[in-house]
């Protein structure tokens, strides 16, 4: 028995030591800007920025990421801005992204947050309501750790608290040796198309998608998810704590698509009331853009041709609203 226990213990120690060493290495490697894979990964690109100053930041899901011509918006508002929205991201992802973005030493004066039905019901409408694996390497950040714990079972929280390096084993698909080699070999690829678009959509691939048929829209009923609401509030609090002005807006939706949502008006009225209670302006911007299906590659995502009209529209509305606010 003694020999068996000695050998078993030895193997367990070797195993734990390897996991610990690998975890420590991953903590370092996957947070280094040169290995962030920002040339193609939008979420990584968002976090490569350090110690910059921005007049505004666009935040939200794919409908925020793909709604503005960022250069035009900066020009029209005469401000310096960046888009840190990302496809498939929920308010939970957005909250952590903004938190890490600010902790990178970036200064932000205003956040344009895209708020819509989908972002308030991420568990139903997104493939994953929270992309844990995009944030596990930032475990040392207390806000990230708290959020990861909120989305883990009690046993997992205990295990990760005792031995945080195990999280790289759980998410081994994203933190494998192969991934390390790939990112290391891409370390010199410092040019990203997002640098040119200021984080706005790189639309070529999306443009190839066919226009969706009207008849394909099914009748839908939406409800607001408490979890998403909680993280929307967290974003608001984070902005307040950092003296950042917050402006909410809704990206365009094709009219027939809107009609397919049974409780569309009711839900948007609720969102409007909620944001009003928190003293946050909400720009819904219904316009001609919504009437033409050719402006969309499906009901909720704009094609290239509609980016400029919508950006112009938003800029005008924003300037109008700001000038009203400035009046005594």
């Amino acid at each position: 028995m003694r020999d068996f226990l000695r050998h078993t213990l030895l193997w367990i120690i070797i195993l734990m030591a390897c996991i610990y060493a690998y975890g420590q290495f991953c903590d370092w490697f996957f947070t280094q800007p040169q290995f962030l894979d920002f040339a193609i990964n939008k979420r990584a690109w968002n976090l490569k920025h350090k110690k910059q100053s921005y007049d505004f930041v666009v935040l939200g899901n794919s409908r925020a990421y793909g709604v503005f011509d960022m250069r035009l918006l900066c020009e029209r508002l005469d401000k310096n801005g960046i888009n840190i929205g990302a496809g498939g991201s929920s308010f939970i992802d957005n909250y952590l992204t903004l938190n890490l973005f600010l902790k990178n030493g970036n200064k932000v004066k205003e956040v344009f947050l895209q708020v819509d039905l989908w972002s308030l019901n991420s568990r139903t409408w997104l493939t994953e309501s929270f992309h844990k694996y995009h944030f596990v390497q930032y475990w040392k950040d207390p806000i990230v750790r708290q959020t990861l714990n909120d989305f883990s079972g009690i046993r997992e929280v205990k295990v990760f608290t005792l031995f945080p390096e195990l999280r790289y084993i759980k998410f081994n698909k994203y933190f494998s040796f192969k991934e390390i080699v790939r990112r290391y070999s891409n370390r010199n690829k410092i040019h990203s198309p997002f640098d040119f678009t200021l984080g706005g959509v790189v639309a070529q691939s999306l443009e190839k998608q066919p226009i969706m048929e009207y008849t394909q829209y099914k009748k839908m009923i939406f409800k607001i998810d408490e979890k998403d609401l909680f993280y929307l509030k967290n974003i608001i609090l984070l902005c307040k704590l950092n003296n950042i002005k917050l402006t909410a807006f809704k990206a365009p939706e094709f009219n027939t698509f809107k009609e397919s949502i049974i409780n569309y008006d009711e839900i948007y009225n609720n969102i409007n009331d909620l944001l009003y209670d928190w003293d946050i302006p909400y720009h819904q911007l219904n316009s001609e853009i919504d009437n033409n299906i050719e402006n969309f590659y499906e009901g909720g995502h704009l094609r290239n041709q509609a980016l400029i009209p919508f950006t112009e529209l938003f800029a005008i509305e924003y300037v109008r609203y700001s000038s009203q606010e400035d009046k005594p």
Binding site: M1, D3, F4, H7, T8, W11, L15, C18, I19, Y133, R155, E156, V159, I169, K170, F171, N172, K173, S176, F177
Partner: protein, 479 residues
């Protein structure tokens, strides 16, 4: 409590330490402790069904005792049938009731009668098919006077509930496992090492091969009408690896866990995908179930000794019953029927016992002829898995039709296949090396560097490529 969960990683070492250091003073204490932890293990799923195991154990314990007291053939037969009816009754109620009600209603509607489907919401108690067969084997063996009935209730109840093999087998025979509860277990270094090796290899098959294949297979089977022909075929092959990795991985971990506690469970799989014909496949796949059916159904029906017609009938019966044992669905019945069709030509031509042992060339590889036989058998088995995996017969035939349809250029978004194929290939290589051994890694006994290298390589694969984000349950838990 899944074998591939953190809970079990904590549970087994705790049981091991208490078992060998605190309750090893006497046999009764060892058995009592094993019974308690086995019930805890089962209660982790659903404590309410513990009563079912206890009741089932009590019935067979009682029948065994009574069988030992009487020599009257009529009484003995009555006791046997009492046990069988109670056990099969439970199995029928929990597993097959809805199937029969639904099938009857559908049949009535098909011939023009109005029939309401009044299925009950019955939860299937995990492992019921396994422990029911295990307890029945005891009563039948006592009835046949192959073994003496036991008066040691603690040993018997522990034998039925023994946690490593409680929920998905191997379906142990009382004649093999029960006597192991009658003598105090003594730890040996060799048994401990064998246990760890089996667990290591079982984990590799389950979390690396089966669970990774599951992601691809589930995606393609979930939207097969949108998948390309290559995807459909690949999903079938990967399902063959998934189900083998899943079930044999479970069996290895079960055997390894039992070995750590001083028990020797029967081998359930012996590299079945290296079989050269279907008869050999069934001597190597789920051995505990196929031998159970052979001993308690096929042979009592007359086996192959009473002429070809009866042999064909008996073969059809055991394959259909075997299919039905897996679940109350026509797909399982058809799967069994298909295997009977594969098997019957071998039986009729008297070639079903040709391939009993591996032969190989001097390089340790099969001959070209044997290799082609293995591939052919694998293709037949893989085809039959389609019916096993599909949710319904309609879905299975639609899947087949989709394969036959010319390429549509539509593809389902799935995980990468290169890694999956590589992992399956690694498993095949290791399995070929281990094919003659009961315990994996035994071949490397003579060389320490090779052995340690193999441990590290498999350990590395488990850590780096195991699927842990959404841990999959074991497929055979549903049976």
């Amino acid at each position: 409590m899944l074998f591939n969960s953190l809970t079990y990683a904590f549970f087994l070492p705790v049981v091991f330490v208490i078992y060998w250091f605190y309750v090893n003073k006497n046999l009764q204490l060892q058995n009592f402790f094993l019974l308690a932890v086995s019930y805890v293990f089962y209660a982790w799923w659903d404590w309410r069904f513990l009563t079912l195991i206890i009741f089932s154990s009590a019935i067979d314990y009682f029948c065994g005792i009574q069988l030992g007291k009487t020599d009257d053939p009529a009484n003995r037969k009555m006791l046997l049938w009492f046990s069988i009816l109670i056990n099969i009754g439970f199995l029928f109620f929990f597993k097959y009731f809805n199937f029969f009600v639904d099938s009857f209603a559908e049949l009535s509607q098909a011939i023009g009668f109005q029939a309401n489907k009044s299925s009950l919401k019955i939860i299937l108690p995990v492992g019921i098919s396994f422990y029911t067969f295990q307890t029945m084997s005891y009563t039948i063996d006592v009835y046949r006077r192959k073994m003496e009935p036991t008066s040691d209730a603690l040993a018997f109840f522990t034998y039925v509930a023994f946690f490593p093999q409680l929920v998905a087998g191997p379906i142990e025979r009382a004649i093999n496992l029960l006597p192991q509860f009658f003598s105090k277990r003594i730890f040996t270094y060799e048994a401990g090492v064998q246990g760890m090796r089996l667990i290591l290899w079982g984990l590799f098959k389950k979390v690396v091969v089966a669970d990774n294949c599951a992601v691809y297979v589930d995606t393609v089977f979930g939207s097969y009408s949108d998948a390309s022909r290559v995807q459909l075929l690949l999903a079938l092959v990967l399902f063959a690896f998934q189900i083998y990795g899943d079930f044999s991985g479970y069996s290895d971990i079960a055997k390894g866990s039992a070995r750590l506690l001083g028990f020797d469970l029967m081998t359930n799989f012996r590299t079945p995908y290296f079989s050269r014909d279907i008869a050999e496949f069934w001597r190597r796949w789920h051995i505990s179930l196929s031998s159970w059916f052979k001993d308690y159904l096929y042979i009592p029906l007359g086996g192959s000794k009473e002429g070809k017609t009866k042999a064909v009938r008996n073969t059809l019966i055991i394959f259909l019953v075997s299919g039905f044992w897996h679940g109350a669905n026509w797909t399982f019945l058809f799967w069994g029927f298909l295997h009977a069709l594969y098997f019957l030509p071998l039986l009729l031509s008297n070639t079903h016992r040709v391939h009993l042992e591996f032969r190989e060339t001097k390089y340790g590889l099969p001959t070209l002829k044997e290799f082609s036989q293995m591939v052919f058998t694998f293709v037949l088995v893989t085809f039959s898995w389609l019916f096993f995996r599909a949710n319904s017969m309609t879905a299975a035939f639609h899947y087949l039709a989709s394969i036959a349809t010319p390429a549509r250029g539509v593809r389902v978004e799935t995980v990468g296949t290169t890694l999956l194929i590589a992992l399956c290939f690694i498993q095949v290589i290791f399995e070929w090396i281990f094919r003659k051994e009961i315990v994996p890694f035994t071949n490397f006994e003579s060389s320490k560097p090779l052995r340690y290298g193999a441990y590290l390589a498999v350990g590395f694969l488990i850590i780096s490529y195991g699927a842990y984000v959404n841990p999959q349950s074991f497929i055979y838990f549903q049976f």
